[in-house]
């Protein structure tokens, strides 16, 4: 019999009941909540007269609607009354049910997928869910982590379980070594370009290979974060020393004897040598260039040295129509150079790229330089209050401010523009976020997905440049 994949092991460890009809009850170790997808779930509990099954498995924070300025005002600082009600509703629900919440003025508040790992509330081997598709981020720790809808949020609150069908196994192996200036973001965009936005549908993806295991935890989180942009709810990396070193000493991490026992278990969280995957995709790390998206789907991406595609060269009629539509929306011409795309705004932040290493990489590029006068705005939004504090201790805020970037308070911000931070109609944005869908960052806004270093380089130049040319 073949060995087990990492996903098989995590599945087996969380299996409460295998039903005859093929569905299974899976136990959930950690449930993260935010204000957008939880109010209807709490209301559902109340209407059914149910209580949360295990209160201490839940951690909540407001992130989507929070303003990134004037935070000392707390909830009162949320100008949009509809946004404010949503944040107040989360506070009220958490207070009523006794759920731990990092409220808007708490220094531990931040984007839910930043604070889980930061607090050690994300531990290797856990099953983790949240009403947010970027929950796949936590798979970087060898977790079974995925996004769920609001009905499932209610289901987890009420039962600590989910009804699941087992997915298929995919291995995405990135071999060799990444070149200088090439980051986790470039790796995941290159993977999406290869397998497509539906390439991972129905699969749990394990990212492996030397190039992945050479990366830091934060870069691995960036990669797992965007698994969903490849269609896979679940993305994972097996546990190694880098994982264990990152977890050690964090507030929710075990201590003493429990730590030793946990580490022994965590070291088993990798696919067996003889495990069989339903699909294997291999990339050579040395081939990956800094990436820039040109279209309205994350698979519409190319290397910075490339050009906007010509739809007449596409044979598949549905894809061709997609390219024509995307170029019209983006206001781009076929065959134009990526480096000729002029920008209006730059956004550095989001659950994909707002951790301390992301900010360091961006700061390194802008240090001693100025934001291009062509831009209307360039902003940096740290992923949490603790990331913000650390960045300030390292002097990164001064570097950004002196270069002409705005230094904001933590939240999801312009990744999806539920707060006041958004693009104007027709504006082009170099963004470190995860989705370039039509209207995602504001009505009529045009998003180009890039790494923090590439966004910083674009901020200085007012158009895309190969960040590697600025590194000497």
């Amino acid at each position: 019999m073949a060995g087990k994949t990492l996903y098989d092991k995590l599945w087996d460890d969380h299996l409460v009941k295998q039903r005859d009809d093929g569905s299974a009850l899976i136990y959930i170790d950690r449930h993260l909540l935010h204000e957008v997808t939880s109010p209807q779930a709490f209301e559902g509990l109340r209407l059914a007269g149910r209580k949360p099954w295990r209160i201490d498995a839940n951690i909540a924070t407001p992130d989507h609607n929070v303003p990134t300025t004037d935070r000392e005002l707390g909830v009162e600082g949320i100008v949009d009354p509809v946004s404010r009600i949503q944040v107040e509703t989360l506070d009220k629900n958490c207070d009523e049910f006794g759920i731990l919440e990092f409220k808007i003025k708490d220094q531990r508040q931040g984007i839910v997928h930043v604070i889980g790992p930061e607090q050690g509330a994300t531990l290797p081997g856990m099953s983790i869910v949240c009403g947010d598709s970027h929950t796949s981020t936590h798979g970087a720790f060898g977790c079974l982590a995925h996004g769920i809808g609001t009905s499932e949020v209610e289901h987890v609150l009420a039962t600590q379980c989910l009804v699941q069908q087992k997915m298929k196994n995919m291995l995405v192996k990135v071999n060799g070594t990444l070149g200088p200036g090439v980051t986790g973001k470039d790796v995941v965009l290159a993977i999406i370009a290869r397998i497509g936005t539906a390439g991972g549908t129905g699969y749990a993806i394990e990212f492996g290979g030397d190039a992945i295991h050479d990366l830091s935890m934060e870069a691995r989180m960036t990669i797992c974060n965007m698994s969903i942009e490849a269609g896979a709810r679940v993305g994972m990396v097996s546990v190694d020393d880098t994982t264990i070193d990152y977890v050690r000493g964090r507030p929710f991490a075990p201590r003493g004897e429990q730590w030793d026992k946990a580490v022994d278990y965590w070291r088993t969280l990798h696919s067996d040598d003889d495990a069989e995957f339903d699909k294997v995709v291999e990339l050579d790390g040395a081939d990956i260039q800094p990436q820039v998206s040109w279209g309205t789907s994350p698979e519409m991406v190319t290397g910075v040295g490339g050009t906007v595609p010509d739809p007449t060269a596409e044979e598949d009629p549905i894809k061709r129509e997609g390219i024509v539509r995307a170029l019209k929306y983006m206001g781009l011409d076929p065959n134009m150079k990526i480096t000729d795309i002029k920008l209006d705004r730059v956004f550095i932040g989001s659950c994909t790229n707002s951790r301390i290493e992301d900010l360091r990489e961006a700061a390194k590029v802008v240090k001693g330089r100025k934001v291009s006068p062509i831009l209307k705005q360039a902003m940096v939004v740290p992923g949490s209050g603790l990331v913000k504090t650390q960045a300030e201790q390292e002097g990164l805020d001064r570097i950004f401010i002196e270069a002409g970037l705005e230094w904001r308070d933590p939240g999801c911000s312009m990744c999806l523009a539920m707060n006041a931070d958004k693009l104007g109609q027709g504006e082009h944005c170099a963004s470190t976020s995860n989705r370039n869908f039509e209207g995602r960052q504001g009505f009529g806004g045009r998003t180009h997905l890039v790494s923090p270093a590439m966004a910083a380089a674009a901020a200085v130049n007012g158009h895309f440049v190969d960040v590697r040319e600025m590194m000497n």
Partner: protein, 215 residues
């Protein structure tokens, strides 16, 4: 949850691939704390020419006459015919809520994004996967025949055209059972409460660190 056994209704063609949940219901409408009322904002950026705002009366907004759901022949549609990877992107359940609130009961596509597919079943909506060639044929028949309707039978797992042609589809037994009977799946899970407790107690022994509060 509302049950669905059979459904027959007018088909509307959503002729583009990778329709994402941001497109189905843009983010400004996610600020609602209710499950209902999203119908007027379904496909908001495609349907109207201006930028939509929450809690706005949509009846006076400028509509995009080219958009499919603004055409008289599709206004009472309850079956949405779509292309590859429908419902990709965010996990927002507001997407099926908006489709449901508009009046859709069935969505047919060659493929769906996983989270969206799952969210549909929780809301009495039936997503049906058919081969791309069949979907292409249904698009043509929809375009060619005003008032074109499809009949769907979840019991027999078939889609039937007006000419009597039938296509079968797959759906897993648990989801089908819940939708046929309109079951609250939390209630079904809680029938196994003892098993959940037993699992939990065993994990507290073998992996106690999973139950720690912050130090």
């Amino acid at each position: 949850m509302r049950a669905l056994q059979q459904h027959q209704g007018i088909v509307a063609p959503m002729d583009r691939s990778n329709v994402d949940t941001d497109m189905i219901i843009p983010k400004q409408f996610l600020k609602s704390i209710k499950r209902t009322g999203f119908g007027p904002n379904l496909f908001d950026e495609l349907r109207y020419l201006d930028e939509g705002k929450p809690d706005q009366d949509c009846s006076n907004r400028p509509i995009n006459p080219d958009f499919v759901l603004n055409q008289d022949r599709y206004k009472n549609a309850s079956v949405l015919l779509a292309r590859r990877n429908f419902g990709c992107g965010s996990s927002r359940e507001h997407a099926p809520w908006a489709l449901d609130d508009f009046g859709f009961r069935v969505i047919i596509a060659p493929s769906f994004a996983d989270i969206f597919y799952n969210n549909c079943f929780k809301n009495g909506l039936l997503p049906i996967v058919l081969d791309e060639e069949i979907v292409e044929k249904l698009f043509q028949e929809t375009y060619d025949n005003e008032g074109y309707q499809l009949s769907v039978d979840l019991e027999t797992k078939t889609v039937t055209t007006p000419s009597g042609e039938s296509f079968s589809f797959e759906v897993d037994d648990f989801r089908r059972h819940c939708l046929l009977n309109g079951l609250d799946d939390i209630g079904v899970t809680l029938e196994d409460a003892d098993l959940i407790r037993e699992y939990e107690n065993q994990r507290r022994q073998t992996a106690p660190w999973l139950f720690n509060a912050a130090h």
